[in-house]
């Protein structure tokens, strides 16, 4: 029993760390950190982290490879979009160009990394300089505002960046609550179907008690978040995008052949090659996908900031990398998952917000963030050592 409790603790270390950190800030800020507005901001402000981390996770899985250029690409793509909309071009045309721009950047970097074998660190460092420069060229050194209402509404910017309340609650946003309940019911249905399916085929199932605890905890967290959001202005548009991206990537990493190959290449490239899988295609996919996510993040950031300016996205690459590593991705590749990455991203977000509310100097905030990353990795290394 004791051993089992230890195992659970180990598996969900970062979840417990997140809970502890949240309790700490709740105490220090007099509960301010869990006000509806702040829960809402935590999601909207960090939308780019979730999206970029999803792309970064795939790169890291292939062998600890990172993409340093994403911050610059976010700025580059955001800049292109802002300028196009400033010239009154069609909004969907602009969005398409931004997405394709991200993909092309990914293909450019992926080509050098996968086919010419330029080390990812170098190839993307080059990209970091080059695309920052190009972003400046596009923006001609100025901030460009976005006034297109459709764009702002769809991608979660400006004042009205919420899913409209169809059901018309008075103080509570009813749509938000209903969606929260639907999510929980869908989750419950999935768990039940999965259990029945496994039982009928004679596979081992997790003990009912464990499953129940897990379900109750997760459902409670989901309902609590939606309740908080309903108390504010409802579902932020950014949350819709985050949810779509995270669900898609959870699926890609666990259920598709490409997902499997990402882990395989990171685990043993030579064995994967001799199994008839071309590792070059896998690397290329990871970086093209990273470009796509950088493009989407560029869109979300431009919408949130209602414009683009030459200094956008500085350090974003580090936020994404940190989220993945805090979330348990291996720096050597082959290990990591979307759930862990989400916890990592939320943990960083909570620490950022908590310190801001407490009024801690921005410079010290960076120091704390650095220490958190280091501690997370030290813990990971030590717990892995004990296993052996």
């Amino acid at each position: 029993m004791n051993l089992k409790a230890m195992d659970i603790l180990k598996k969900y270390t970062m979840v417990f760390a997140l809970v502890l950190v949240t309790i700490f800030f709740y105490w220090q800020t007099g509960g301010k950190i869990l006000l509806p507005q702040n829960v809402n901001n935590l999601i909207s402000q960090n939308a780019y982290v979730f999206v970029l981390s999803a792309g970064m996770l795939l790169c890291i899985l292939t062998g600890g490879n990172i993409d340093l250029a994403v911050g610059s690409v976010v700025c580059f793509v955001g800049g292109i979009g802002a300028v196009m909309m400033d010239k009154n071009l069609n909004v969907w045309f602009a969005v398409a160009v931004m997405i394709i721009g991200g993909l092309l950047v990914g293909a450019w970097q992926g080509f050098w990394i996968a086919y010419i074998k330029v080390p990812p660190f170098i190839a993307t460092l080059a990209g970091m300089y080059a695309f920052r420069g190009l972003a400046n060229v596009v923006l001609q050194g100025y901030a460009v505002g976005i006034r297109n209402e459709t764009f702002l509404k769809v991608f979660g910017g400006g004042e009205n960046c919420y899913v409209p309340d169809f059901l018309g609650g008075s103080s509570l946003n009813m749509t938000c609550m209903v969606v929260g309940i639907i999510v929980v019911v869908a989750y419950l249905a999935m768990v039940i179907v999965n259990r029945i399916d496994a039982r009928s085929k004679g596979y081992s199932v997790t003990p009912l008690f464990q499953e129940l605890v897990k379900f109750v905890v997760i459902s409670a967290v989901i309902l609590w978040i939606f309740y908080k959001l309903a108390n504010y202005k409802g579902i932020p548009a950014a949350l819709v995008w985050i949810a779509v991206v995270l669900l898609a990537y959870a699926y890609i990493t666990t259920r598709t052949t490409m997902g499997r190959y990402l882990y395989a290449v990171g685990g043993n490239e030579k064995a994967t090659r001799l199994s008839g899988v071309d590792p070059r295609k896998v690397y290329f996919f990871a970086y093209v996908n990273m470009g796509l996510m950088a493009g989407l993040a560029g869109i979300l950031v431009a919408a949130r900031q209602v414009g683009a300016q030459p200094t956008f996205g500085q350090g974003y690459e580090m936020d994404a990398i940190a989220a993945c590593f805090i979330g348990g991705a291996s720096a050597y590749g082959g290990e990591g998952n979307v759930f862990g990455m989400v916890i990592g991203a939320v943990l960083m977000g909570v620490i950022n917000m908590g310190m801001s509310i407490m009024g801690i100097d921005a410079n010290y905030q960076k120091v704390v963030k650095g220490i958190v990353v280091l501690v997370a990795i030290i813990f990971d290394v030590l717990s892995n050592k004990k296993k052996k």
Partner: protein, 512 residues
């Protein structure tokens, strides 16, 4: 009866959940070569780790009595001070550094912040001479072969004033000639009064050098055989290791009909991928028929693996020339994927490096080379994948609690079975097995041989590359002999003996 140099008394060592050593007793006389044999996981290496202080005093029960006194070793340097030096199976040398630097790594000559290079290289040269190496100690490790690297390890041990030398599988990565040289060196040291413990899987070597043989099974010492008073033979030792009579090391294959030629290789030449002027495989011609096991025997470095990998979708070498015919049709295989589609499978000799993803479960490893069989448009059917991996686990009798177990946690024999399962799942007609039984114990070997027999009984062709002569003779229908990139002989297994195969290799060497 000479003086007892080392006595290990009632040693018990437990790991969480496992008793690795159970009341082990070992006596080593001064000036003898004492062999430890046993199946993988029997506890030989654990015992030596206890002795050398890798598992510190207090983490085990029992006494170590060395040179008449009870010893408490807390770390390796404690035992080294007493002259107990262990040479591990994996070479622990830094390739980019010179022989001399390696030899005194952690034990540098001169003052603490001023290394005396003259003394380093001078001393190093002295020890190199003792092990019969003519290289200068300034040569880099990466520029000498594995055989010589093993000798450097021994010289390094001598530099520590070794009195009791422990060699863990010293010949596992050496070819026959280098192995022989190493064993002779051990006999030479014995004459000079050195005491040695050797752990080895290769029983012929054990019989060749050992004065006494202690058999370890399931964490206990079963018996100690004195080679001077009793007649020792390999079957006699195997009997002790597995606990039963092992009359047939190779299962009989009966009633398998040998059919038409399935794969044919003509004038196959391969050049080295880096040194493009060097021929690694030189004008090889071979064929394999349906239902046939063809053995390729050759010493390490003969070009066997290179030949196999170049056939398997050009996964090795440059400037590959020659014709490959499958079912009589000339075929060009540009990459492993095309080779797999042409019903070819290559089971690598290096299962950890080239074969398996150790950090992934059995299920994932089993399907990796044939994902499309468990997929629908890029989406994995997890049910099917699970069923397939369980099916192969049962078929090959892989010992594991579940197919969700990470392959890295399995023993060598079970890893080999997972690797075989992976390739059998691609449904090949022709399997090239490269050293299929390397580093696995006697019982698992027998099971692998049975799997090979089942494969040919199902009409498949097997090409088995091996550097173990008895295995090649025992398992093959026909044998090709390879030396220095060329095929130097071909014979029926019924006509082959260890002597005429070795003669074949020697003659080809002289002909040059």
């Amino acid at each position: 009866m000479g003086k007892i140099l080392l006595e290990m008394k009632n040693i018990t060592k437990t790991f969480p959940g496992v008793k690795a050593l159970d009341n082990v007793n070992l006596q080593v006389e001064e000036g003898e070569i004492h062999a430890l044999v046993g199946e993988n996981g029997a506890g030989k290496s654990t015992l030596m780790n206890v002795l050398s202080g890798i598992y510190p005093y207090g983490s085990y029960e029992g006494d170590i009595i060395y040179d008449g006194e009870v010893c408490e070793f807390h770390k390796i340097t404690d035992s080294e001070k007493k002259g107990i030096v262990i040479i591990h199976q994996e070479l622990a040398l830094v390739p980019q550094m010179s022989i001399g630097e390696n030899m005194f790594l952690g034990n540098e000559r001169g003052k603490k912040n001023a290394i005396n290079w003259n003394e380093t290289y001078g001393e190093a040269d002295k020890y190199l001479k003792m092990v019969g190496l003519s290289e200068s100690s300034r040569v880099l490790i990466k520029d000498i072969g594995t055989g010589k690297q093993q000798l450097v390890e021994i010289a390094k041990a001598l530099a520590k004033n070794a009195r009791l030398l422990i060699l863990d599988e010293p010949t596992s990565s050496l070819n026959e000639t280098d192995s022989k040289a190493l064993l002779d060196l051990m006999l030479e040291f014995k004459k000079q009064g050195m005491t040695m413990i050797i752990i080895s899987h290769k029983l012929n070597e054990v019989v060749y050098v050992a004065d006494k043989i202690t058999v370890v099974r399931d964490g206990s010492t079963v018996e100690t055989i004195d080679c001077h008073t009793t007649e020792v033979s390999e079957p006699r030792i195997i009997k002790g290791m597995v606990g039963r009579e092992f009359t047939d090391r190779f299962p009989k294959r009966s009633g398998v009909e040998i059919g038409e030629v399935n794969m044919e290789v003509e004038n196959w030449t391969v050049y080295h991928p880096v040194y493009a002027e060097r021929k690694v495989v030189d004008n090889v011609n071979m064929n394999v028929k349906k239902g046939e096991v063809v053995g390729i025997y050759g010493l390490m470095g003969a070009g066997r693996t290179e030949l196999a990998m170049s056939i398997f979708g050009k996964s090795y070498g440059t400037g590959i020339k020659g014709t490959l015919k499958i079912n009589g049709k000339p075929t060009v295989l540009k990459n492993p994927r095309e080779a797999i589609n042409a019903k070819l499978a290559y089971v690598t000799e290096d299962r950890k490096g080239n074969g398996l993803i150790l950090s992934n479960p059995i299920r994932v490893n089993t399907t990796l080379a044939n994902m499309k069989a468990v997929c629908d448009r890029g989406i994995i059917d997890t049910d099917k994948e699970y069923q397939v991996s369980v099916e192969y686990k049962d078929k090959l009798k892989t010992k594991t609690p579940s197919v969700e177990q990470n392959v890295g946690n399995l023993s060598g024999g079970n890893q080999q079975k997972v690797l075989l399962a992976k390739w059998m799942f691609t449904d090949p007609d022709i399997l090239i097995l490269d050293e299929p039984t390397r580093g696995i114990d006697v019982g698992a070997k027998y099971e692998i041989y049975c799997i090979i027999n089942d494969l040919v009984a199902a009409g498949k062709s097997v090409v088995m590359i091996s550097s173990e002569l008895p295995e090649v003779i025992g398992m093959s229908d026909r044998i090709y002999i390879m030396n220095e990139g060329k095929f130097v002989g071909e014979m029926k297994a019924s006509e082959a003996t260890q002597e005429n195969i070795m003669a074949c290799i020697l003659q080809s060497g002289r002909g040059e």
